[in-house]
C-alpha cells in the first residue's frame, strides 16, 4: 500500500499523467465540437493516425515542428470535410461514414509510410518538441508546448461555445436544426464548420504522438485512443471543462497501471493492467448513461427542404 503512495508522491508520475492526457484532451474536444453540432464522428481513430503520420512526415521532410502540427491539423480538416460531405451533404449514415473514414485514413497512412520507407528495420526518427524548461511551474515544465496548447484549448473552446454567437448557433444546430434554419442560420454550413474544426483538433491530437510523446511513427500507434475520446465525451456530458477532467482521470489510471506493473509484489499478469483503461471507459459510460443529456439532434440526419 505504501508503494501506491510512493507512486503518487513521485512528480514523475504526474508528468506522465499530463503527457498521456494531452492527445485525449485534444481528441475529446474535437469529438465534442462535432457532437454538439449533432454529428457523430467515428473517423477520429483514423484521423489521429493520419495526423500522426502527415505531421511527422512534414517534419521529417525538413519542416519546423509547428508547421508539422499545422499539416496534421490540415489533414484532419480535409478528412473532416469528407465526413461532412457524406453526412451533412448526402445525409448518409453517420456511423458508416465515420467507420469508412477511419479505415480509409488508416490504410492511406500505412500505405504512405511503407511507400516512403520501404526497407527500414528501425523506424526513422525526428527531433521532437523540447520540454518547456523555461517555465517556472513544476510538472508543467517537463511538458512540451503541445500540452500547453491542449490545456489552453479547453477554456478557448468553452468560451466559443457559450459566449459567442457562432457557439450558440453550433449548439442550436445540434439541438433543433429546424429552429436554426428558421432563424436564418445555415445548418449545413455550421455543421460542416464544426466537423472540420473538430477533425483538425483530432489531427493535432494524433501529431502529438509522433512529434512530442515519441519521435517516430509506428503501426498501431493510436491503439484505440480515438475510441476512448468518443467515450470520454459522453462521460463529460459534452462540456469542455468536464472533458479535461475525464481525460486527466483516464490518464491517471493509465499511468498508474504502467507503474503498478513494475511493483515488486506484482502477482497479476501485465495484460490485466493494460486492460484497466478500457474497462474503466466502459464503466464510466454505464455510470453516466442514465442521466446523459444528449444534444437532441445528434445522429439524426437533416435534409433541408425535403417533404
Amino acid at each position: 500500500m505504501t508503494e501506491f503512495f510512493d507512486i503518487l508522491a513521485n512528480p514523475a508520475f504526474w508528468v506522465a499523467v499530463l503527457r498521456i492526457a494531452t492527445p485525449l484532451i485534444l481528441g475529446t474536444l474535437g469529438v465534442l465540437l462535432c457532437e454538439r453540432a449533432g454529428v457523430l464522428n467515428l473517423g477520429i481513430e483514423g484521423i489521429m493516425v493520419a495526423g500522426a503520420f502527415t505531421g511527422w512526415l512534414a517534419v521529417y521532410g525538413g519542416a519546423p515542428l509547428w508547421a508539422g502540427v499545422a499539416v496534421a491539423a490540415l489533414t484532419g480538416a480535409a478528412l473532416g470535410l469528407l465526413h461532412a460531405f457524406l453526412t451533412v451533404g448526402l445525409a448518409l449514415s453517420q456511423h458508416v461514414s465515420g467507420l469508412g473514414i477511419t479505415l480509409l485514413a488508416t490504410a492511406l497512412s500505412y500505405y504512405g509510410y511503407r511507400v516512403s520507407f520501404p526497407k527500414v528495420s528501425t523506424p526513422p526518427t525526428i527531433t521532437p518538441f523540447a520540454e518547456m524548461s523555461w517555465l517556472p511551474l513544476p510538472i508543467l515544465a517537463q511538458q512540451t508546448a503541445m500540452t500547453l496548447l491542449a490545456l489552453l484549448a479547453v477554456p478557448v473552446i468553452a468560451y466559443v461555445l457559450f459566449k459567442t454567437p457562432v457557439g450558440l448557433a453550433l449548439r442550436m444546430v445540434g439541438e433543433n436544426p429546424q429552429a436554426a434554419e428558421g432563424q436564418g442560420v445555415s445548418v449545413a454550413r455550421v455543421r460542416t464548420g464544426a466537423i472540420v474544426a473538430g477533425s483538425a483538433l483530432m489531427g493535432v491530437a494524433g501529431s502529438f504522438l509522433t512529434l512530442s510523446a515519441f519521435n517516430a511513427f509506428f503501426f498501431n500507434m493510436v491503439n484505440g485512443r480515438g475510441w476512448i475520446c468518443v467515450a470520454l465525451v459522453v462521460f463529460a456530458s459534452w462540456r469542455p471543462g468536464k472533458a479535461l477532467l475525464g481525460a486527466l482521470l483516464f490518464a491517471f489510471f493509465d499511468a498508474l497501471q504502467l507503474r503498478l506493473q513494475q511493483m515488486n509484489d506484482v502477482v497479476l499478469p501485465y495484460q490485466l493492467y493494460l486492460m484497466l483503461p478500457y474497462v474503466l471507459s466502459i464503466v464510466a459510460l454505464v455510470l453516466v448513461a442514465r442521466k446523459a443529456s444528449y444534444p437532441q439532434a445528434l445522429m439524426k440526419p437533416y435534409r433541408r427542404g425535403e417533404r
Binding site: L103, T106, A107, A188, G224, A231
Partner: protein
Amino acid sequence: MRLEKRSHSSSAAMLLAPLGAVAFTLMISALLVLWAGAPVGQTYGLLLKGGFGSVFALSETLTRAIPLMLTGLAAAVAFKARLFNIGAEGQLYVGAMAAVAVGGLHGGTGFDLPPALLFLLMMLAAALAGALLLLGPALMKAKLGVDEVVTTLLLNFIVLLLVSLMLDGPMKDPSAMGWPQSVALLGDLELSKLIEQTRVHTGLLWAVALAVGLWALMKYTVLGFDIRAVGANPRAAAFAGVSVTRTVVLVALLSGGLAGLAGAIEVAGRTSYLTLDMSPGYGYSGIVIAMLAGLHPLGVVLGSVFVAGVLVGADSMSRVVGVPTYIADVIVATSLISVLVATLLTQYKVKLK
C-alpha cells in the same frame, strides 16, 4: 448543396451506380500505385491474377473468404436491427479461445468423447462465447441507452489482451519454444480440405450454409420480421407486439455467435491453434462487406469473395511489384464509400444552390 428525391429511379441509374463506384475506386488506387512508382496496368493485372487467376489463387481467396463471410453475416444481421456491432473482431477471438479450450486443452486427459460429438461441442462453445460477449453491450444499449459502438470497440482491445494473457499462461503450447501460440486442436477435430494440395477447407460449406440459413430466417420467419421491424422502426414494432428487448437479445446471440464461429472455423480449418495475429482485422472487414452487400446475406457471400480476392491478390502482387499490401485496405475502404454515395445518387438528385 441540396438533395432532391427523384420521382422514379431509372434502371439505368441502378446499373450505373455500382459501376461508377468501381471506376472511381480504381482511379483513386491507380494514383496510389503511381505514387509507389509501379506500372498501373501491370499492378492491376497481378492483383487480378493473384486473387482469381488460377486454381491456387482461387483456393487462397476462398480460404481467406471463409472468416470474412462469417463476420460479414454477423455484421449484416446486427446492422439490420440497428445494433451496431463493431466487436466482431473480439467475438472471433473468444470463439477461437473457446474452440481451443474444448478441443485442444483436454486432448486425451479431459473430455473423452467421440470426435464428432466433441467437434459439435467445440463449435457450440465458440458460438456461445461470441454470443455472450455481444450480449453485454446489447443489454447495456437496450436497458441503459449506452451506445454500443464504443462498448463493442473497447471490448475488442480487452479481448486481445485476454488472448495474450491466455497464450502466456493457461493455453501455452509447451512445445512451441516461446512462440506465442496455444496448444493445438486434436487432429480429429480439424476440418478436412475441400481441394487437395490447397488450404481451402470444409468451413466454406459451413459459411455458405449459414448464409443461406440467415437469408431464409430474415425473409421467411417471424423472427426475421421482428428483426427487420425493430431495425426499421422500434416504436411501431413494439406497437405491433414485437418484444424489442427480446429481439435485440436474439440478434446479439446470432451476431456474436456467427463471429465466434468464424474464430472456431479458422482454428479448425486453417491454423489448428490460437495465435495473437490470426485475424488481420476480419471483424472490421466483415462490417465493410456487410455494407457493400446492402446487409443481404447472399450478397455477403459475394462481397467476401471480392474482398478476399483483393487481399490475396495484393499479397501476391506486392511480392512482384513492391506496392505495399495496404493498397488492398484502401481499395476496400474506397469501394465502401463510393458504393454508398452511388446508391444514394440513384434515389436523390444533387442540386447546387
